[in-house]
Amino acid sequence: MTTFFDEVQEIRKRYPAGARSATLPALRLAQEKHGWLSREAIEETADALEVTPAFCYSVASFYDMFHLEPVGRHTIEICTNLPCALCGAQKVVEAFESALGISAGETTADGEVTLRAVECLGGCGYATVVAVDHRYRQNVKAEDAAEIVEGLDA
């Protein structure tokens, strides 16, 4: 069985310029494995990349796609950057908040769903963009929130 360490070494081979360039894919791999980037996950990644945990943490904390807190089984991520904001993203956030009974940045008490407001998802032409378990939903309006929450598989 290939270990996490070996997999990271494979990734590193794709970046001859140095281990630092492999940080993003390595962190992504760690997140897939652990669900989120716990202290242990970051330390393990740093060890495999031969960089410091602080460096990995600094990179991970910059990007919205990395979770530094545990997340639910499902994630709902609403873009609130300018184009989406102009198309009513704030209303969409509020709708999801009331549908789930939590605020953005929180996870439901049963650990099922995490709701987050995130930076530009790169789909500005289809604002407001909501990533439901990493699949994009376009032109989302506040009134779609309840249906999307319903549709999450149990």
């Binding site: 410091t52 460096f55 600094s58 904390s61």
Partner: protein, 720 residues
Amino acid sequence: MSAELVRVKIDERDVHVPKGTGIVETALAAGIEIPVFCYEPRLGDPVGACRMCLVEVEGMPKLQTGCTLTAQDGMIVKTARTSEKAAAGQNGTLEFILVNHPLDCPVCDKGGECPLQDLTFRYGPGNTRMSYEKLTFEKPIPISPTISLDRERCILCYRCTRFSSDVSEDGQLVAANRGAMSVITTFEDVPYTGAFTGNVTELCPVGALLPTQYRFEGRPWEIVDVPTVCGLCPVGCNINATVRETKVKRILSRNHPEIDEGWICDKGRFAFTHLRAEDRLTQPLQRTRRHGLEEVTWEAAIDEAERLLRAAQGRIVTALSGSETVEQAYALGKLLRAGLGSHQAMLPEEVSGALDGYRLPLSAIRDADAVVVLGDVPVAERAPVVDLWIKSARRKGARILDSADEVGDAERVVLIWSGPGGRGGATVAKLAEKLTLAGREGCGAFYLPTTPNGRGVADAWAACCDDESDEPDSIGLLVVSGDEAAADPNVRALAEQAEATIVLSMFGGLSAGWADLVLPGTSYLERDGTFVNLEGRLQRLRATVTPPCPDELHWIAELAARFDVDVAPYAAAVFAEVSEKVYDGLSFGEVGESAPLRGYPDAAVRVDRPSLPESQAKPGKTEIRLVAYKPLFSGAAVERVTELQFQRPQPEVELSAEDAGWRNIETGDLVTVGSNGNAITLPARVNRRLGKGIARVAIEHANGLGGIVELARAAEEVSA
């Protein structure tokens, strides 16, 4: 780079500078200041993070950051002095920087020596339009026991994180999050640990990163910075001691571009509080029959010293520390050798003059093509700043090698011997000779000694008398000079054989059990005199504060007078005498605040400590060569500084991945290391950079082990 000169016009002034010179420097050449926060050439390429240096450049539509521009022929630059646009830009930059800045200058330790304060005063807005609440954080946050971080004051210039990643290369201090929410931090709650962390407190242009020891301890208008030299290791970094009301409050770097480039280590920076250690001696102690060591007056102590010296009838052995000034060693030598005919000395390490033909300033390491680092002791543990020079050489493209065989046709070759062994430099001098480095530009060799002034002490001791004597059959009196000698187990063993022992020591605890007379000693921060560093550079120490006891020269002179030996009680006079014989007649005043590297062809070294057998035996298949090294954070001074204890090495054995692999050892596993029935069991740390067949342990955890040992996983613990 060939120096093609270009003409640049700055604020109507013409200057000629080599092409590629930074605009900040070009302006300086024209006598014009461009204000900066993030720009600091010692940190590598500019990053343009703070926008303080905005200037107007003809032909460019927008304001430019001066720090990222270089001089091109015909460039016309206007700074805030002549460009309204640039002035408005800088004003706006400052207004933005201050949006979340607490402006708590009255209680900020940086106040009065703060670039943010100064530049705001000169270039910034007089008041604020910020009517919202500012970001607040918990403050101060101890990012280590020695450094406090006030996040509210941070202006995110990234000087500190660049130091951590690009100079000391420890990668521990980073910026987390993004944009306005960015914060400077370490990982989780791990303290910022390493040889050089304190430098960030000097780099920070605001009161965000501050030395904890200096919090609320002084204000710029009530302190004096006294220039001197650090005496805690053989690098001899140039420092300023900040003195307030007769007390040293802080140590700052004092950039000597050839030695330290303004970086000093945390030992040199934070260990000064040993001056006020609880067990610091101020009165002499004399052993009495019933009560053990008891305080006596200085007169009584000098009388007793005279009595002991006479009673020994020349059978005196002197154990030196290598941390005495040249003058102290000479004065003591003159008394004991010229006055009493006792020539036997024990130096803490071997000293050799063989390297004198291969001298270079430390900064030459950075410009080398190949740097050969020999020996198994980590360079940073012996001579920390040398490690920074090696790192900058590597960043500049030099090959860092661990064997001279790979030098090839490299032009500028520097050899560095980092022990153990090495015969005081003789071994590496041989190698330099073999590679014919003598006289070749940029080529040379260094030996990293274990004591700060071993060479100076050896030269001085050798210079004070030409006679020699055989080893006495019995030791009538052992004179132990300094705390390092007092802590040396070999010296203690000698004390057992001696009929009587006099110890010169700063701290009571060191000699309590075995000395007959203890005379209080002074610290390098309290002495006037000279030191010779590992480059062979003679440097000037200054008494930054008055010691709590008479300084050594004073009473050595008094004692010497009783034996009709003429010793002057002042460093300048003693130096004049040494200088005649060793330093080409250089006068004390000429040594200099920022000393050049001079050659002293007359420096004769005749004091050799019998070399310890240098084991070159190759380890067998299951054996390992254990290097028990003296860590940077160790010694009498460091032991007395509570806030430095977190820097001391863990009890653990480092071993190479290869040696760990086939033994099935992983980091954290317990291993047993032993030879001849002596064994220690410690957790292992696998170090992928360590060579095969070598293991390392800090000497305080080695239990006397060293050399060829057996190493294995510790037997599984039987659970109860």
